[in-house]
């Protein structure tokens, strides 16, 4: 990464932290473990930890646990080479022990790539369910453990109805467990159940965050989500193709906001609690595509209704984040326009820079 890119990352983190760095003081001089540490979430947590260490003297020792360390070294060499960041190569499913001095854990292991869920359902389930079980087992024997934050998904609620403006932490509908498409959501629900069991039986101080949708550097462009498709199509010169009229509503929280939110919830969230994490500000896919097109190098065309469909297939997936906002004083600090601009630039620069 260039100096400018490194500065941009730091500025993003500074913007997300704002005046509230003292809220994270309990993390000073602490040992923080992140499982799934080399994915999107892990990478942003690493950026945030680096920022807190460099600009606020936090002296966090960050340990990233992932099955492969080599990807991280090539994707984020400026982080992998830091002395305050350690990489442990391990499959979370067979995890027996974690570093003894660990004080805080964020359990982010598990791929949200739904292509993987469909092609490798057994491994998906195992990684999430068995992985959570192994991690909590290891955590239960840590002397200096303060809290474990497990990352769940907003999909656990079941499909959001179009009439519901946003989904709050108590808005559960039933999921058909025999429906193969629900495998990821069911795995995440089972993982949350395991956290309840460990909390109850062994007193492990664990809480859950339910993640919605995010945007930012470090997100792979080939991920099959609408926003990644738009970005990829835009960077290729377009056109950006939308199914239907693009009225489906989503929201996107920027990576540095995500990192600050997660660390805040880790520190101030209630043990046994569950917190929605995401942006409450919905945007239609059509408007999203328009914003992305405006920022893309060659201002691509947008095509709606490219194929005729019998039904209107618009969906809404929006978190009600008032719980996190009130209890942990959190807010969206990186506006969507800026988030999109940063992401488009980051990808565009990478396309221009040979690896």
């Amino acid at each position: 990464m260039t100096t400018k890119q490194l500065d941009d990352m730091q500025n993003d983190c500074a913007l997300s932290v704002g005046e509230d760095v003292n809220r994270l003081f309990p993390l000073r001089n602490a040992n923080l473990l992140v499982t799934g540490g080399t994915g999107f979430v892990g990478s942003w947590l690493a950026e945030m930890a680096a920022f807190l260490n460099d600009c606020h003297g936090f002296k966090i020792n960050l340990c990233l646990l992932a099955p492969r360390a080599s990807d991280f070294r090539s994707r984020a060499p400026h982080l992998a080479s830091r002395r305050d960041i350690e990489l442990i190569e391990s499959d979370v499913r067979s995890l027996i022990e974690v570093p003894r001095e660990t004080n805080w854990i964020i359990h982010a292991a598990g791929s949200p790539d739904n292509r993987f869920h469909f092609s490798h359902p057994v491994k998906t389930f195992e990684t999430i369910v068995v992985g959570t079980h192994s991690l909590l087992n290891a955590a239960s024997r840590l002397s200096a453990l303060q809290k474990v934050l497990c990352l769940s998904s907003g999909l656990v609620y079941g499909p959001q109805r179009w009439e519901d403006v946003a989904v709050a932490e108590d808005a559960f509908t039933a999921l058909d467990c025999n429906n193969f498409a629900n495998l990821y959501a069911e795995s995440k629900r089972a993982a949350e159940t395991i956290t309840t069991a460990y909390r109850s039986q062994y007193g492990v101080p664990v809480l859950n965050a339910r993640l919605f949708a995010f945007i930012g550097p470090y997100q792979l462009l080939d991920r099959p989500w609408a926003i990644n498709n738009f970005l990829r199509d835009a960077l290729r010169g377009g056109p950006i193709r939308l199914q239907g009229s693009g009225e489906t509503v989503r929201s996107y929280l920027y990576g540095s906001d995500l990192a600050f939110w997660l660390l805040s919830i880790l520190v101030s969230g209630n043990i046994g609690g569950a917190y929605n994490v995401g942006s409450p500000m919905g945007i239609s896919l059509k408007d999203l595509a328009t914003k992305i097109a405006d920022d893309a190098p060659r201002r691509p065309r947008i095509e709606l209704n490219t194929l005729p469909s019998a039904k209107v297939s618009n969906t809404r997936w929006l978190p009600d984040v008032s719980l996190a906002q009130k209890q942990c004083s959190l807010e969206v600090r990186v506006p969507l326009d800026q988030a999109i601009r940063r992401t488009v630039n980051w990808h565009a620069e990478r396309i221009l820079q040979p690896q």
Binding site: D91, R93, S94, I96, S119, H120, K123, V130
Partner: protein, 302 residues
Amino acid sequence: MTRRKMVPVAILGSGNIGTDLLLKIQRSPWLECKLFVGRNLSSPGLAKASSLGVPISSNSIDGILQDASDCEIVFDATSARDHLRHWPLLQKAGKRVIDLTPAKVGKMCIPAVNLEECLAEQNVNMVTCGGQASVPLIHLIGKTQKDLEYVEIVSSISSRSAGPATRINIDEYIATTESAISLFSGAPRAKVILILNPASPCIDMQTTIFAKVPDPRIEPLALAMEKMVATIRSYVPGYEIILGPIVENGRLVVMVRVQGMGDYLPKYAGNLDIINCAAIAYAEACAMKSVDVASAQEVTRA
């Protein structure tokens, strides 16, 4: 005559392929598995190995380099990506490596055809299932038929024998197998087709070989094939020609079926079994050669 000593080997990769290899090695009078290595202690393969009294490790390549220093042969049944990492380390450690992944950095080995040449190599790969099933016969077509223009194979395997790794790598399977059949037949053009069939009960692996030859000579081919099949069956007992060689619609046709031995993998997974059987055949040949060399040395020393 000195008592035959078994050659120590290690298996890297505790999935279904590695575990099946282990069971075959347990039966081998030439090979002894000194270490069975995975990277995940909860893998059923490691549990199986442990129950058989075979030393296990979950330290992947480090396990081999540290604990299996006396192993002469290492079977790598991990993944292409991992093999690329393992090979330089094993090469430096002087190990002979049998690559069962799609990495294919070493020499292609089809025991019934080029076993001898491969004995001098430090890294060999077992090509693909279609390659193992068809190359010996295609090689004979190349030898007995004049002006072989084109060769094509179609393999049908049961859906249940094709896991996610196979399914995501079909293009690579086609490219590798095409280069193998070109190489071993001398045909200027080659094509490979792969079909997955979900029928239940599961079908055995079936491969049809087609060849374009202006003036097909069936008799010498049939004779040579009969001998070749006997050779192949010595290490792949479930291999048989079910039809041919015949000429149908201007093309030379031979149909082969491979049923697996059912050691750890199910019997219908003949496609997976044939690769393991070939790997064992090669390893045993290496073992026989090194034991002969050792015996010869002892004799001269005595």
